[in-house]
Symmetry: C2
């Protein structure tokens, strides 16, 4: 231990000396080395993305073992590149000379320095062991979910939460006193997925939501009565053709992307020229795939519209999880659940398989019907944020030691009863339904609700500039897509999501737009 | 240059000394290091395979640039691992101590030493430059093929042949005089795809074929008269279901593999637990996908049946190109074009979409109809080897300087007229039809014809042990699959294809079985 510390001190002194001597030629040399390392990292990171894509869309059961090995190998290569002595030197030099860096390089260095500094607080051995553990815990979760039995996954989940808290603590304790006074341990995780987000803001956000959405839900259910939604019984083949058509109609460029099928729909990208999304074809409702396609296309269009100048840099990605989710929710809900959108599609030959089986009115009722249900990803627009609230309260409770992992099934079911009035028949349809925790993603869920709120806020702003309904009814969505490109998409990660939202909508996250939007949609 | 030579001498002397001192502990240490390097190489090589799979099955046009970069990067990583100083030391040590190595390790070391020694004769700079050139020439070939214009690809193809000859010469000139007396430059390439194969043997093989097949073809065409084949007009959806059913019926294990679609059908594998093949759905003939599925399933079953003990070693692959092609041709032709095979399938519910549109007799005539045609991969069983012969004669001619690349369209068309009696309407349907040369694969084609001949030879041997027709008619192919597993598949690359064939059939390649088989099939 001591030896290591001494080495670290020596390294620190040597680096300090070097930095003082930093001149143009060193900056140039480091700039070149920086781009070489990042080019290599991009190749490796996009390989990891490809392996994940393969796992979700095509890998047979027999292929999973080798795939796990490959993922582990490349994850460590990527980690090694980012935390290498060379990279540390470069980033330290850039930090010191930030004023002379190009804007892109400066932003890249900032983001990487944050990542690297966070990673360096975790002992490499612990980090690697945790990554390996996660590849093992994923199939365990799958089995437990299929069996509907939490006890099969309980110990693994405890280890995941314990490790996540321990890693958060490394970072939390390295912060200054002012930060620690203001923030909680859970905030460390929240920040990873949505910069600037913390428990204080989210308590306010979810507080407002709880106050408004829970009574709104009761009101809507009462108005809706027992009216049943009609399933148009689309065949899988018809769904496939419709999904492809709708995605292109929103503006997805199939020359620079592709569509496939997976158990859980998702979007991914290697760079903006190869953006991929999946959907899932269900029998009932057979419209699930259509809405899910609109959702994923929203993510995909965001990536496809990032400015070319960020391609190949680490800025060639959407800015934050919340802002990404805003694009998907915008296309799925604000656009895709509106009557105007489907009016603009009526009469087209490609929509015939749908509208020969259902009327516009009956279809729009079906895709907007409110019905408290068990599964988050199948939830309607109004109950959706309540699903997120449950997960937020649980994560927060585990991080502040008021909830124990072993009690999760009871805690989960109790909250489901309180907010949604239903009880899961087993853990598979309850606490085990999502993959996120098994993947080690703690603090991720709130970004889904933030995304919905951002989407409503973006909508309020966009309506001021554009005749939204008219555009939808006319059946050419280019003006909306271009507005999003100019205000949001083109920046990639060059700007923080907070800054982008502020410039695009005039303010940071404000839940009032979301609540207004929900009221307008569901009480009109 | 001198410095490098000196270094090499010093290295050689140092290595020599080390080897003399080789004892158990060094062997143990090297054994461990060897397996570590190979484990890493397997991860990287299977990633390259995955990238190729992606390119053929799903990558959108926009994604090809990044994919090329990734392939180039991993190819060089794999090359570096194999040619590293460390690996050279290990392999030299193993060579010296071969008698005490385990049989598997000994075989691995032998094969790798061959590869490494061949690679080391090529200056690394030239090797890398050529690999990069090939990634650029592939899209060029695609464009030229689409335009049907050889001149667009002529210069690139000249460079490919020139480089291939130069690389072959490095190896040829490093051989002893006895080898050079007996062998030609082209033999260096032939050996890469089929050990022990050379121009002397192939001249004999194709000579016999020419003598027998060309007159046989005339005879068959005369007998066949103007009878037309009927296309059962299967829908793509029906083809997909039939292909999946047929593949499982032959014995493909979908838990350890998968099926997809691509322009050119192919089979690949990451290891025996993830084996993948593709097919192509055509309108006319709509049975193309069925036969192509039988073909690729033959390749796939070979990989799936390799003994578990070779998984993760470099022996976990089929033994040679020719022997691989033998398995695919055996399942496609010997099994899949026989009436007994389809008799065994008649009456099954899954075959109803086919047999409701065609009778057994009419279908078997259609899949066996002989008709000289332009495209190799769509050729019937009898004219197929003539397509290969053309390619063999051209490659041989370029290597012995009797054919010039610039004259290829004329040479090609002339040979098509001579052997098949037809003239391609353009270069896309002629000399540019295959991807192999654009991929730098020179000397590969003959293994296709060897495969057909091996298949007939295997068939002759298998019939002595098993009631072949009866098994097919009874509709359970397990005995045939198990015979192939026991005699051929299980060995992987642990044995040479020549040794495997000798043990399984009693002799090395003998074209007489192939000619007998063709006569029996087409004159019966």
């Amino acid at each position: 231990m001591m030896k290591k510390k001494n080495n670290e001190n020596e390294n620190a002194i040597a680096r300090e000396k070097e930095m003082e001597a930093a001149d143009d030629s060193l900056l140039k040399e480091y700039g070149k080395a920086f781009h070489e390392i990042l080019a290599e990292k991009h190749i490796i990171d996009s390989t990891i993305t490809m392996l994940q894509w393969e796992l979700e869309t095509i890998t047979p059961p027999g292929g999973q073992a080798l795939l796990s090995k490959q993922m582990g190998y490349y994850s460590m290569k990527s980690y090694d590149l980012l935390t290498s002595e060379k990279m540390q030197k470069i980033l330290a030099c850039f930090k010191k000379n930030r004023d002379v860096l190009s804007p892109v390089l400066k932003r890249e260095a900032e983001l990487l320095t944050e990542d690297m500094e966070r990673l360096r607080l975790i002992p490499p051995g612990e980090y690697k062991a945790y990554k390996e553990f996660l590849t093992e815990s994923q199939p365990l979760w799958q089995k437990a979910k299929a069996a509907g039995d939490f006890s099969m996954f309980r110990d693994a989940l405890k280890k995941i939460f314990d490790t996540s808290k321990r890693f958060a603590r490394y970072e939390y304790e390295a912060k200054d006193e002012a930060y620690r006074k203001e923030k909680t341990l859970y905030d460390v995780n929240l920040e990873q997925y949505e910069k600037g987000m913390d428990v204080a803001r989210l308590d306010e956000f979810f507080g407002a939501l709880k106050e408004e959405v829970v009574p709104l839900l009761r009101q809507v259910l009462k108005r809706q009565g027992g009216k049943k939604a009609k399933n148009p019984n689309l065949t899988v083949d018809a769904q496939k053709k419709l999904c492809r058509y709708l995605s292109a109609y929103l503006g997805f460029d199939f020359e620079r992307g592709t569509m496939a099928e997976s158990e859980h729909p998702f979007t991914t990208h290697f760079d903006k020229n190869d953006v991929r999304f999946t959907t899932r074809y269900m029998k009932n409702p057979s419209t699930f795939s259509l809405l899910s396609t609109l959702h994923e296309t929203g993510h995909a269009i965001y990536e496809q519209q990032i400015d070319d100048k960020y391609t190949g840099t680490i800025l060639g990605n959407g800015s934050s999880n919340g802002l990404h989710e805003a694009q998907s929710r915008f296309y799925e809900n604000v656009v895709g659940r509106s009557e105007a959108f489907w009016k603009g599609l009526q009469g087209r030959e490609e929509l015939e398989p749908l509208f020969s089986k259902t009327s516009l009115g009956s279809f729009c009722f079906a895709i907007n019907k409110v019905e408290p249900s068990l599964i988050r990803i199948e939830a309607d627009e109004l109950t959706y944020p309540l699903h997120i609230m449950i997960r937020y309260e649980i994560e927060k409770g585990i991080f502040n030691d008021t909830i124990k992992v072993k009690d999760l099934p009871e805690v989960w079911n109790e909250k489901m009863r309180e907010y949604l009035g239903i009880t899961p028949p087993n853990d598979g349809a309850g606490v085990l339904q999502d993959v996120h925790w098994a993947d080690g993603l703690i603090g991720y869920f709130p970004s889904y609700a933030i995304g919905s709120a951002y989407a409503a806020q973006i909508y309020a702003s966009l309506r001021k500039d554009l005749p939204f309904e008219k555009i939808l009814e006319q059946g050419d969505l280019a003006p909306i897509r271009e507005w999003l490109s100019a205000k949001i998409h083109r920046y990639g990660s060059f700007k923080d999501s907070r800054d982008i939202m502020k410039k695009a909508t005039g303010e940071e996250l404000n839940p009032k737009y979301y609540i207004e939007y929900l009221k307008e949609r569901f009480l009109k």
